[in-house]
């Protein structure tokens, strides 16, 4: 077998050389292997926890600025953007409908053939030097949100609401960074968007009003997505903009009544029956404030579905989450032909306190 002999002749001296070095320097090789294992573990932890990417970026950004090394710069930029964006997305993902928020990755491209670029059908963003990292962060966050918001319905949701919701959420994220990032966001994203969509500031003020009570992500985005999904291939497709305005108007009226002195919300505001948007609202109060336990809530939930609602949004407070869960389980186990599709968090509860909890039920026929 001449071929085997040749392979043996080539590999044997190399193998012997490696063996002699390893055997000759056992401590050195032990630590090299240990460092390699630690590096692999850190790599996997870094992929899982955005905070590790942020720490990594804090180490590598000054090094990249100093050395101007291409590989180091790429690593620093990627860690900073990935770490910060994914940290914020993790938080935002708790409030948005399940499946909307994916983990972001930055895919560096160096060479590509033209046909491959076209068939891949993805935009390629220019990433500026590390000194311009605020601009990189703002552009990437905005672009990422634009891609992930309203999956499959982003062509049905009107541009002004699509742009408005992306910019509203982008601003919330950017506001947590630093003054320079906020300025870049205002100059490059917000101002041009306001010039393009004249109603944007009104929309954003409305989003803020309903967000303060947990209804922006809790009801508005979910209902708008459901409405757009329902009419995606139906004649009502053009009416989504009107439906969106009506949902906002309804929630604002509901909040205004809740905030009024007597806090009496008329029966007509607990349910919204539009052309497509048909939903009910249920606020779970402190168990001490209700004489009938969960039964009163189950009855009210049933009334909403009997009244024509296709979806029911139940809201509670995190301080009373046990009672909220009991109500949700009670509805789930009692009202036939409905289905609990999601339990989610809201940035604020309906009382206006930080952190709330919500659930969505739908009619099974949908």
């Amino acid at each position: 077998m001449p071929q085997e002999t040749t392979t043996q002749n080539i590999t044997s001296p190399i193998a012997d050389w490696i063996t002699s070095i390893v055997v000759g320097h056992p401590v050195l090789w032990f630590f090299t292997a240990l460092i390699l294992v630690i590096f692999i573990i850190l790599y996997f932890i870094g992929q899982t926890f955005p905070g590790v990417q942020i720490v990594k970026s804090k180490i590598f950004i000054p090094l990249a600025r100093w050395s101007k090394h291409r590989g180091l710069t790429k690593m620093a930029i990627k860690s900073d953007i990935k770490g910060h964006v994914n940290k914020e997305m993790k938080e935002l993902g708790k409030h948005l409908p399940s499946g909307w928020i994916k983990e972001m990755d930055l895919d560096w491209v160096q060479q590509e053939d033209p046909m491959g670029f076209i068939s891949d059908d993805r935009i390629v963003l220019r990433i500026r030097p590390v000194e311009d990292q605020n601009r990189n962060f703002v552009n990437t966050t905005y672009h990422f949100l634009k891609q992930v918001m309203f999956p499959k319905t982003n062509n049905v949701v009107p541009d002004n609401h699509l742009e408005g919701t992306v910019i509203y959420l982008c601003r919330k994220i950017v506001n947590r960074r630093n003054k320079e990032t906020i300025t870049v966001f205002e100059d490059y994203i917000l101002e041009p968007a306001i010039q393009k969509h004249k109603k944007l500031l009104t929309y954003m003020a409305d989003y803020e009003t309903i967000d303060k009570r947990g209804f922006f992500t809790g009801t508005f985005l979910r209902e708008l997505h459901s409405v757009a999904n329902e009419v995606r291939f139906a004649p009502g497709r053009e009416s989504v903009g009107r439906e969106a305005s009506e949902i906002i108007k309804h929630i604002k009226e509901f909040i205004a009544k809740y905030e009024s002195e007597d806090r009496v919300i008329p029966d007509s505001l607990w349910i919204k029956i539009g052309n497509v948007a048909k939903y009910g609202l249920l606020l779970v109060a402190h168990p001490g404030k209700t004489n009938f336990g969960i039964d009163a809530y189950i009855n009210r939930a049933r009334e909403k579905f009997n009244g024509g609602a296709n979806r029911l949004y139940v809201f509670g407070t995190t301080t009373e989450s046990k009672f909220f869960n009991a109500v949700v389980r009670g509805i789930e186990g009692t009202i036939k032909d409905t289905e609990l599709i999601e339990i989610f968090s809201t940035p604020n509860d309906y009382r206006g306190d930080t952190d709330g909890i919500g659930a969505v039920f739908i009619k099974k026929s949908l």
């Binding site: 790599y43 996997f44 932890i45 992929q47 899982t48 291409r70 710069t73 790429k74 930029i77 994916k102 983990e103 972001m104 990755d105 930055l106 895919d107 560096w108 491209v109 160096q110 060479q111 590509e112 053939d113 033209p114 670029f117 076209i118 068939s119 891949d120 059908d121 993805r122 935009i123 390629v124 963003l125 220019r126 990433i127 500026r128 030097p129 552009n139 990437t140 672009h143 990422f144 634009k146 891609q147 992930v148 100059d187 490059y188 994203i189 101002e191 041009p192 968007a193 010039q195 393009k196």
Partner: protein, 75 residues
């Protein structure tokens, strides 16, 4: 996706400043930019290397987006 992380990912394609020229050459558009024949998809202004913000495939062609604030916003 790592073995610890089952979350679906969305990858943003990005080109670093130092790789920009070679990347544009590889997709066959560097000549267009250098000869002044490339224009912004949104505002129509001439694209030069300094003003290029993104390249995008559209209807089987390659289009350019400039760094004008009003155009970045439309990506």
């Amino acid at each position: 996706m790592s073995i610890f992380n089952k979350k679906p990912k969305y990858s943003i394609k990005a080109v670093q400043e130092q790789d920009l020229v070679s990347y544009l050459k590889s997709i066959g558009v560097l000549g267009l930019i250098n000869s002044g024949q490339a224009s912004c998809q949104f505002c129509g202004s001439q694209i030069i290397l300094d003003t290029l913000e993104a390249v995008s495939p559209k209807d089987g062609k390659i289009v350019f987006i400039c760094s004008n604030k009003n155009c970045i916003n439309q990506i």
